[in-house]
């Protein structure tokens, strides 16, 4: 499984090089043809039987932080990159910059908080990163303004085939593409690893412009809200209930005939699937389907609890379902009408 290694890498939007270098090395090992485009997307080509141009895409980037200021005591101020869950930033370990300098996100101690501040999550401007230095000069030797910081969080397998890691959104998608490319199937498709999804679906737009796909399969880690205090109809997705098919989100109304066809493929192959109950959020499909003359898109996701935080949880079973379904959709579509 590539996922273990993929989730250890830093790849905040706009700074995806660790993830890109890892994927490039794996593609080279496999002997897979690929190139990196101007924005940093990796476009890999699996040659084989071809009926139409298929693009299978997943974004490499993750939400994170960017350094904006260093104060006189050497503490680092920062801003969010992408829609980070700000409630959970305090007391997390991060890795900063190309040299992965470790730091801790801190705030004033609970003892010093006013009654009003207690029990309330702190806004980003009240937090800072502590890298164990005590002057501006010391910090500046290790960290620069503009450096990115990503969560540090181990990959752990636990419970009933569950995984805990950071950035499961969307290293799950990247790992699925790598697994399928590794199989060297005799079907034609482009495996695309995009940049800057979390800040506005930017890489996918230029990738789709280059490929002009007839069909794009967008792989994602998506919101799972099956926890206490969430009403059944607001669950979005359920962990362990299979690959997720999107019907509509903020950026795409999925072609219903295509979605139902994919559901049928899942049923015919005994692959567990579920529909996404929420229409909020957006993914790369939103720009891909509108590029140039337009494309058909389908979105297959893996449910991730605690998404956009330092720990997310996903089920290996769901990952396998998404992988099998993606592969089957590619195969069925290259068979011809």
């Amino acid at each position: 499984m590539f996922l273990n290694e993929l989730t250890k890498l830093s790849g905040v939007s706009g700074c995806e090089f660790e993830v890109r270098n890892y994927i490039k090395s794996k593609l080279s090992e496999m002997g897979c043809q690929f190139y990196v485009d101007k924005l940093g997307n990796i476009i890999a080509h699996n040659k084989g039987k071809k009926n139409k141009t298929i693009m299978v895409s997943a974004h490499m980037d993750e939400v994170g932080l960017i350094v904006t200021n260093i104060d006189s005591d050497g503490f680092i101020k920062f801003k969010a990159v992408g829609g980070i869950d700000q409630r959970v930033l305090n007391s997390k370990v991060v890795l900063i910059g190309e040299n992965n300098i470790p730091g801790v996100i801190g705030s004033k101690a609970v003892h010093l908080m006013t009654e009003k501040e207690k029990g309330v999550s702190l806004p980003i401007d009240k937090l800072y990163i502590d890298i164990g230095t005590s002057t501006k000069e010391e910090t500046e030797k290790l960290v620069n303004i503009g450096d990115y910081a990503a969560f540090k969080s181990d990959y752990v397998e636990f419970g009933d085939n569950m995984i805990k890691a950071k950035a499961l959104d969307n290293r799950v998608g990247c790992s699925i593409i790598l697994e399928i490319l590794k199989e060297k199937l005799d079907v034609d498709f482009y495996g695309v690893f995009t940049v800057m999804e979390e800040v506005g679906l930017r890489g996918a737009e230029t990738a789709a412009y280059q490929l002009e796909p007839d069909l794009a399969i967008v792989l994602e880690g998506t919101v799972c809200a099956d926890m206490p205090e969430v009403e059944e109809h607001e669950n979005s997705t359920l962990i362990g209930k299979g690959a997720v098919l999107s019907l509509m989100d903020n950026a795409t109304v999925y072609d219903i005939d295509l979605v139902r066809r994919v559901a049928k493929i899942a049923e015919d192959n005994n692959i567990a699937y579920q529909y996404r109950r929420s229409t909020s959020g957006a993914n790369d499909a939103g720009v891909i389907h509108k590029t140039k003359k337009g494309a058909k898109v389908v979105s297959i996701s893996v449910p991730c609890r605690y998404i956009h935080s330092s720990v997310s949880v996903a089920s290996k079973n769901d990952l396998m379902s998404a992988l099998k379904l993606t592969k089957q959709v590619i195969i069925e579509n290259q068979k011809g009408e």
Binding site: D214, E232, H233, E234, N235, V253, Y254, I256, K292
Partner: protein, 327 residues
């Protein structure tokens, strides 16, 4: 003469954003004898062409209407939903909705606790059945429904659902049927997914790559009690848009439309809309840019089950489209 029969059919035809199959087929059937060439692009836009070797002109009216998408069917057979397009929870309560298969439901709300705000997640659709098998067979997550309301007209005005933008489709159909003698290469586009962000127009604009583009869509009016402050009134003629959130009308296009209206004695009014956008938004920034404008049909009570427009305004819009096609 206003073709009430056509407008009623257009208004009654099912077609929320992303589910335009039925309305596309209806319009295609209506125009097939009048176009030189008809194509459907990958997103589902219907494009009717009157061939010529002159200037390439694109007219666009969107086929889709606002609606709801089913997100969950619960144990009791009650349906949860989300908006397709701009809808407000408090305007939905008590409305009758109809699905593509003709089945209906009514929008109800949960008992709200004190101070709890009404939101879409507190609403559900009761489809009038306690038969689980019937519900499982007929209602699926992903199905969409639209307002159910009856077409009604007086001597001068019409009340109907989905006037946004079936009245624009009506204008283009009538213009195509009365297409002028011209050397221009004219594309009548019936676009998809405008209500969720003008998505169809983006790919149609790219594909056609026109020299001039005109969207035909409804606009709000400023002639109701305590309404928004704007100068557009029902019955004051075709509205030539100067600006909205998606476009600042190209000055040459504004002058062109004004000139055509003046020369042909078409009654017109200028429109500045402080919210919203139309298909002209993504089209005018397509490729290396397209001088674009909008001809609007003034419409009251927008995005509700009873939108109101004036038949005289519609006639003026048709004349303005025909005049532009010949320019």
């Amino acid at each position: 003469m206003f073709n009430s029969e056509l407008m009623k059919r257009l208004s009654d035809c099912f077609g929320p954003s992303g589910r335009e199959k039925r309305i596309r087929e209806m319009i295609m059937d209506e125009i097939k004898d009048f176009a030189d060439e008809i194509t459907i692009d990958p997103l589902g836009n219907l494009i009717a062409r009157k061939k010529g070797t002159g200037k390439k002109i694109l007219f666009s009216a969107h086929m889709d209407q606002i609606g709801l998408i089913i997100t969950h069917v619960d144990e009791k057979g009650l349906l949860r939903f989300a908006n397709v397009g701009g809808l407000n929870a408090k305007e939905l309560l008590g409305l009758r909705m109809v699905f593509d298969n003709g089945l209906e439901g009514v929008i109800c709300q949960e008992e709200l606790k004190d101070n709890e705000k009404l939101s879409t997640s507190k609403l559900f659709l009761d489809v009038a059945s306690t038969d689980k098998e019937f519900i499982a067979k007929n209602f699926r997550v992903g199905d969409m429904c639209v307002f159910k309301s009856e077409y009604y007209e007086t001597e001068d005005c019409v009340i109907c659902k989905a006037a946004d933008d079936r009245i624009g489709c009506y204008v283009l159909i009538e213009a195509l049927k009365n297409h002028p003698e011209t050397n221009n290469d004219v594309y009548y586009v019936f676009s998809v997914q405008e209500e969720v962000g003008c998505r169809g127009a983006k790919t149609a604009g790219y594909n056609i790559n026109p020299d001039l583009a005109i969207a035909v869509d409804v606009t709000a009016t400023g002639d109701t009690p305590d309404g928004i402050k704007m100068d557009v009134k029902l019955g004051n003629g075709a509205a030539i848009k100067l600006m909205d959130k998606s476009i600042i009308t190209h000055t040459e296009v504004k002058d062109l439309l004004t000139d055509i209206a003046e020369k042909n004695s078409i009654k017109y009014q200028y429109e500045i809309l402080e919210f919203g956008g139309t298909d002209a938004g993504p089209i005018h920034t397509s490729r290396d840019g397209v001088p674009s404008g909008v001809i609007s049909i003034p419409t009251r009570n927008l995005h509700t089950s009873g939108e109101i427009f004036n038949k005289f305004d519609v006639e003026e819009c048709i004349k303005l489209v025909i005049g532009t096609a010949a320019k």
